[in-house]
Amino acid sequence: MTTREGRLRSKQGESAEEIQFPVTPMLDMAFQLLAFFILTFQSPTAESRLDLYLPTIPIALPGSPAGQARTTPPRRSELDLENDLKIRAEADDLGDLKSLKLGDSLLPDIDALGDRLRRYAAILDGKPLRVRISADDRLRYEVAARIMGICNVVGVASIRLADPGDAGSSRTGP
């Protein structure tokens, strides 16, 4: 704009009438818009989510007292529950992770869980991988959420939560 203005002046001379573009109203409007966007700005959230489907069929209900199960014929999903891969997380007195098992095999740390589950998923070759997480009640939720997050990331199709005392069926890890 300044260069163009200079050229104009050199052509028409200093005495010629100067053409001024009124910038001030545009600037006012621009400041209004800027204020609006600054006030409505939300920083991108780092929140994410872990989806769980916990069916309400009697066998899946945690801690159902004996004798209260309904006498409905077993459905396919109930039979599938018996074939889930079991993750067992034990906690120490402070609520930290003491030991982690996948099936019957002890894992060295929580990061090894992802590798093992990926290998399981590869063995299943496209079939849905389902896990049952049985964690001590005193385990800190942060650790449990991390375990569920790892299951989520490696593509576990279904995560179920079991009572810590629930023996259930288990498979041996790869």
Binding site: T2, A30, F37, T56, P62, L139, R146
Partner: protein, 156 residues
């Protein structure tokens, strides 16, 4: 310098607003590109510190039929701006399930399993037993779909 001399000669002072306008328009463009409305997950409370976990799912798109509950570090349920202890929490879940069943019944549906998504925001320091207990109570009332809100962590 030349500009100042000329201005003095002409007897008027002109502030050059064009660079300022350029910068402001750049800022507007920046904020326009980043703007997003309504993606904040509801029920956020400063007292609850979410755990960090690897997750592949984004935070939004939770659907319309959802029930947001919060669990503080002491394991107390916070919902609809109120705190519930153990027995009152069970009553609250039963009440929520009943209301939804009435709603579903009015449109001719009698599902045992409620389609409502229960959004759980639990403090990272809370015992897992409290989270599992909350979900078990809800599950016994017919809620089957849960989502745990976490902070996105590094992938394993």
């Amino acid at each position: 310098m030349a500009y100042r001399n000329r201005s003095r000669a002409e007897g008027s002072f002109q502030l050059n607003l064009t660079p300022l306008l350029d910068v402001v328009l750049q800022l507007i463009t920046f904020f326009m590109m980043l703007i997003h409305f309504g993606t904040k997950i509801e029920g956020a409370a400063a007292e609850v510190k979410l755990p960090t976990a690897p997750s592949a799912l984004p935070g939004g798109d939770l659907g319309l039929d959802r029930l947001v509950v919060t669990l503080d570090a002491k394991g107390r349920l916070i919902a609809e701006g109120r705190r519930f202890e153990d027995s009152s929490a069970t009553t609250w879940w039963a009440d929520q399930a009943r209301k939804r069943r009435v709603g579903l019944g009015s449109i001719g549906r009698k599902d045992e399993e409620l389609p409502t998504l229960v959004v759980v925001r639990a403090d990272k320091a809370v015992a897992f037993g409290a989270v599992r207990g909350l979900m078990a109570t809800a599950q016994q009332q017919g809620f089957a779909r849960f989502t745990l809100i976490v902070l996105r962590g590094p992938q394993p």
